[in-house]
Structures are given as C-alpha cells and as structure tokens.
C-alpha cells in the first residue's frame, strides 16, 4: 500500500504536466487560448440565468430574487457537473489509456489523479464564474462558502469511489461502460437538481435519499441558494458510502493490477 503512494509521489511531475498538457492541447491552436476556459462556463451559467429566469419565471419558496430558479438550478448543476465529470471519465480511464498502459511502465493510478486534477480546475472556474454571476444578479452567498470545500471533497470521493470501481471492472467487462452511460442519465433525474426534493410527495421522499447524491446536492443548495451551512446529517450516508467504495476500488486495483495490461 505504501509502495503505491510512493510510486505516485515520484510521478507527481508527470501528473501535473499531464494536466497542463490537457488544457494546453485543448486551447493551443485557438487565438484566445486560455480565455476560453472562462467563456465556456460563463456561457453555460448565463444561459441558465437568463433563459430560464426570463422564460420560466419560476419562483422558489424562501428567496426573493426573480432569478430564484436559475440560481437553484445552477447550484445543483455545479455539484452534479463535478460528480459526473469525474465519475464518467474514471469509468473509461484505463480503456482510453490502454495503449499507454500496454507499452509503458508507470503507476496506473496516476491516470485517475490526472482526471481529478483537471476536473477540479474545471469545477473551480465554473464555480468562480457562477459566484460572480450570482453577485451580479444580486444574490450574495458569501458567508456559507467556507462549507464548499467539504462538499467538494465529498462529491469527489463519491465520484472517484464509483468511477474507479466501475472503471476497473470495465476493463474486464466492457458492458459496464455501456450500462453506466444509461444509468448516469437516470441518476441525474433521480437527483434533485432540476426540481426540489420538496416537490416529491412525502411518502416517496425517503426513497430519494437512498441516492447518495441527493444529500450532497442538497448541501450545494443550502450553501449557494440559502446561504446556510449544509445539513450534516444528510452527508453521513454519502460519506460512509464513499469510504466503502474507495476501499473497494483500491482493493480491486491491487487485485486487477497484474491482469489489466493483459486484457487491454
């Protein structure tokens, strides 16, 4: 176990350089370069803010702003995007890099770390742009923001736990990748991102909380929409599940390590 972490530490330069390469190659041939990293999330946020509030004019209980629904939606989306980005890329990380794994000898766990790094940068950019847009909309939620790192860690832990466990199995059982791309779509709609959990009838609402993402997304809502600390009780179940999945992923990684290159 120690050896795994020592290997990864000695490859820290490769991880950082790969993250840089990923961004660099995405923008290297465009004139505006890194500015696109701001424009993309900005456009995404503006579409939600303007189109949804103007067209749908949906109101949410508890906030005055006419942009209430847009803010609610953006808060949920930013959390979901982080989760989805990591989980879906983890699912195919070993298959996508099959050529490299077959031909070069390096610690394979660096590959998920590269994904985590680049997803985190994407998330932070989206997040910062979003908070700025919120401020322009007259929605200030700064005092509760210090809870965001906790939620980020939890979101990533769950995404890594699920993504890596399935990503390893996906090398051997390729149907998992196909099944999961469908499952992730259902999952989105089973999580209160687009709707509020209060809209679900009382007798079914507890079912919604079987979904570990529900508690996490509700946390983002608390912080970003209501400027309150997240309900910690809702985060216990996702935390425990993440821990269990991360342990499982690490166990699978160690067991599959020898055979993975054979099958890629």
């Amino acid at each position: 176990m120690n050896r795994i972490f020592r290997d990864i530490w000695s490859y820290r330069y490769f991880i950082i350089s790969s993250i840089k390469t990923e961004f660099r190659s995405r923008f290297v041939r465009s004139k505006l370069g890194a500015l696109w990293m701001i424009f993309h999330p900005l456009a995404q946020v503006l579409i939600y803010a303007l189109v949804l509030s103007a067209v749908l004019k949906a109101k949410l209980p508890g906030i005055e702003s006419q942009y209430a629904y847009a803010i609610y939606l953006m808060a949920g989306m930013v959390g979901w995007t982080l989760f989805m980005d990591i989980a879906s890329r983890m699912l195919t990380v070993f298959i996508d890099n099959g050529n490299l794994i077959k031909k070069m000898s390096f610690p394979k766990l660096t590959l998920p770390l590269i994904i985590i790094g680049s997803s985190l940068i994407n998330f932070l950019l989206l997040f910062i742009v979003m908070v700025i847009v919120f401020a322009f909309l007259g929605h200030f939620t700064f005092s509760a923001l210090l809870w965001i790192p906790l939620l980020m860690v939890l979101t990533m832990a769950l995404a890594i736990g699920i993504g890596l466990t399935l990503g390893i199995l996906n090398v051997f059982i390729r149907d998992i990748g196909q099944v999961m791309s469908i499952v992730f779509q259902f999952w989105f709609w089973l999580t209160p991102v687009v709707y509020a959990s209060s809209m679900i009838p009382q007798e079914y609402r507890h079912l919604l909380f079987l979904n570990p993402m529900t508690g996490i997304i509700e946390g983002y809502h608390s912080i970003l929409v209501y400027n309150k600390m997240p309900q910690l009780a809702l985060l216990i179940y996702p935390s425990l599940l993440s821990l269990a999945l991360l342990t499982l992923a690490l166990f699978l990684y160690r067991k599959s390590n020898a055979e993975m290159a054979d099958l890629l």
């Binding site: 820290r12 330069y13 490769f14 350089s17 790969s18 041939r29 050529n99 059982i173």
Partner: protein, 406 residues
C-alpha cells in the same frame, strides 16, 4: 558479481474465463478455474551481468515481446520472479505519449515525466538533448509539423537522456537516416562502455554478431539456446530453414497454385547449395570465391536444356543473372531419367547484407520460351565483411588509392 537482471523460472500465461465475472470473483478469493490458459512463456531462467550485450532472437510469436514487456514491467509474470537492479529504458515504442500539438521541448518534458523523471532532472539535460537531436528551430515547433525522422530523433533523445542500467533496443531503431543511426549507435556504445546492459531484439545476424556477446533464443515460449551469438544464430537459421522446407512441401501439394515454384515440369530442380572449398555455407565473406551447385533431373525427353540463376538483394532487386545459353553451354537432346549437376564458380563481390538466388530451367535464351521450372528464393545467403575495409552498397568495387598533395 550480482547480476543486473535475473529471471528465475518465469512463466506467463493469459487466462481465459468462461465469464469475466469469474475473473473478478477470483480476486475475492473464490476458487474459479479458468476455461483456458494460453501459455506464452514457460519456465524461463537466465541472468545477465552489467555491461553484457545480449541479443534476444526468435521467430514471430516466440514470446520475445512478452518477455521484454515483463522486463520493462508493463506485464506481470504469472509465475516465477524477475530481479532488476537499476533503471530500464526501452527504445521499443519511440514517441509513445507524444502529443502532436505540443512542441518538441514540451513533449520531452511530458514524456520524461511518464518515465518518472522530475522537472529538475530534465532541466539539467534539456540543452544536451536539444543539441543531440539536431533539429534546429523545429525543437520549439509542434510535433505535428515534424517528419517521422525528426520525431524519431526527439524520441531517441528522450529515451537516452539519462544512462539506464538496462537498455532495450528494438530493430525499429534502424529506421531513420544513416547519420542519426550512426550517432545513436555511438551513444549506445558509450552507454555500454559505462556499464549499461544492452538487450537487442533483432533478426539481423550481422548486427547481432557485431554488437552482442551473447544471444538467447526463444522458441514457442521456452528458452532453447543461450550462448555465443554465432552458435545461437546458426541454430536459429537451421530452425527457420526446417520450417521453410516443411512449408515448401505444403506448397507442393497444391501444385500449380504457388508463386514461388512455377513451370511445366519436364525438368525439375532437385537441390542447390552454395559452397566454399566444397563446404556448404550460408555466411560468406566479401569477395569469397564460392561455388553454386544446382542438380536437376529430366523427366521427359527434351530438345534443349538451359539453366539460369539470378542473385537478388533483400529488396528483390536483381544484381546479377545469367544462364548456360549466354555462357554458351546449352545441352541438346536430353533423355528422360538423366540428372545433371551444374557448378557455377564466381567471386562474391557483394556488399554486406542478405541475398537470395532464384534458379530456373528452360530452353532457349530465356525462360519466356519454355519454362520447365522456376524457383524464387531457392537459396538464401548472407555476406559479412571481416577481411576488407568498410564500405557501403551491394557491390564490392575495391579501388586502388593514389593521391598527391600540392
């Protein structure tokens, strides 16, 4: 002296399960028997000391690349152990992990990272690499604008930026221009002198015998020979010849459909060999006096018999060809059942390389008129240069040198 690489009872097999879930269950300790086990390497043991240079030879599918992948640690052995003291660098997959949009410099940083180097370590040698690869301003241009030769140079530069304890060189290295080839071999030799162990994968007998002091022969996953390169190569060539002969027999069963042997069959070629002082040879030196012996058998009465041969280089280009008609010795009116032995004696004024001889029996001045039998690749032989000064090309035209200084 402790060996730098020791391989002990190494086996590698790929396991097939009837369902992949069974493989997953086996990690959790369930006792599942695989449906099939493809054994790639069987019980291989050898050890190599530092500074040795060892050729790994074997036919395609013998397990060479699997063995190398285990040595570079991309694959894990199924049984047995492998001990390596030091860093292994492989010039197998040149340019692996290169990104087309990054510049040569950026790619060097990136792919050295993949080999486990830190930024500081590359900072220290980047100028040396830039100087070594000699691609000028292209060094800071995107790799997608490179020619394949330039990519090769950069990739080789990265792979050999630091001296590894074990260097694995594939014959793919011989791709690229002669100038850089020379330069890269010089670097490999420097490494060797400094104590690097060289593992060379090649089919090229010349390269093996000139670079290596030892050869290991793999056949169907087992190590069948380990020793002096010349002995091992002779054994290897015999192994291939045996294989080719059996193939030839297969071809003869479906007569008329093969390309290598064609003709009407009134006369057939029984055997042919190349010899020096009546000893059969496969390796000859530049300018050696050799004898080509061809035995033919006549099956039907014929008016005229002409035998021709042609020497081709490894690319199939004809270097020299003649026949008994042009030599003024056609044989007239032959009866069935006769057998003729032809002896052609000539000086092999050829350059270093492999050559093949095609033999044909026909009538008239060429085989176009009446072709009894034509055999391509009837004989294969190799020319090595040990007695003469070095030269390039397929032909030996020794000059007499005079010069004057004014």
């Amino acid at each position: 002296m402790t060996p730098i690489l020791s391989v002990a009872r190494l086996s590698k097999s790929f396991l097939d399960y009837s369902s992949e879930w069974k493989r997953v269950f086996s990690w959790f300790g369930a006792s599942v028997t695989p449906k099939e086990e493809h054994s790639i390497l069987k019980d291989i043991s050898f050890s190599i000391n530092s500074g040795e240079s060892v050729a790994i030879v074997g036919q395609n599918g013998a397990g060479k690349s699997t063995l190398l992948k285990i040595i570079t640690r991309t694959l894990k052995p199924t049984f047995g152990s492998i001990g390596i003291h030091g860093r292994v660098s492989a010039i197998l997959e040149l340019g692996m992990g290169f990104h087309p949009d990054l510049t040569g410099r950026q790619n060097i940083y990136h792919s050295s990272g993949l080999m486990g180097f830190s930024k500081e370590e590359i900072d220290r040698v980047i100028e040396e690499i830039e100087e070594f690869v000699e691609i000028g301003e292209y060094f800071d241009q995107p790799v997608r604008t490179y020619s394949s030769g330039m990519q090769m140079r950069v990739a080789f530069g990265v792979a050999t930026a630091y001296r590894p304890e074990i260097l694995i060189v594939d014959e793919a290295l011989s791709v690229g221009d002669a100038y850089f080839q020379h330069k890269s071999f010089a670097r490999i030799r420097d490494f060797q002198e400094a104590g690097t162990t060289l593992l060379l994968v090649s089919h090229d007998s010349n390269a093996i015998q000139s670079i290596c002091n030892r050869a290991i022969l793999l056949e169907q996953g087992t190590l069948i020979k380990d020793g002096d390169p010349k002995d091992v190569m002779d054994y290897y060539n015999a192994l291939i010849a045996q294989k080719e002969n059996s193939k030839l027999e297969q071809k003869e069963e479906q007569s008329g459909t093969t390309q290598t042997i064609s003709g009407t069959g009134e006369v057939t070629i029984l055997s042919s060999k190349l010899s020096i002082d009546s000893k059969e040879v496969e390796y000859i030196g530049v300018g050696d006096r050799v004898t080509l012996e061809v035995v033919v058998e006549v099956h039907q009465d014929i008016d005229e018999l002409v035998l021709g041969y042609m020497i081709k280089d490894r690319l199939g280009q004809a270097l020299f060809g003649t026949n008994t008609h042009h030599l003024g010795e056609p044989i007239q009116d032959l009866k069935a059942g006769k057998s003729i032995t032809y002896l052609f004696e000539f000086e092999a004024n050829l350059g270093v390389g492999s050559y093949s001889i095609a033999v044909a029996v026909h009538s008239g001045h060429s085989h176009v008129i009446k072709n009894y039998e034509w055999r391509d690749n009837m004989l294969l032989f190799h020319v090595t240069n040990s007695a003469h000064s070095e030269f390039i090309g397929t032909t030996w035209i020794p000059p007499k040198l005079n010069y004057s200084i004014k």
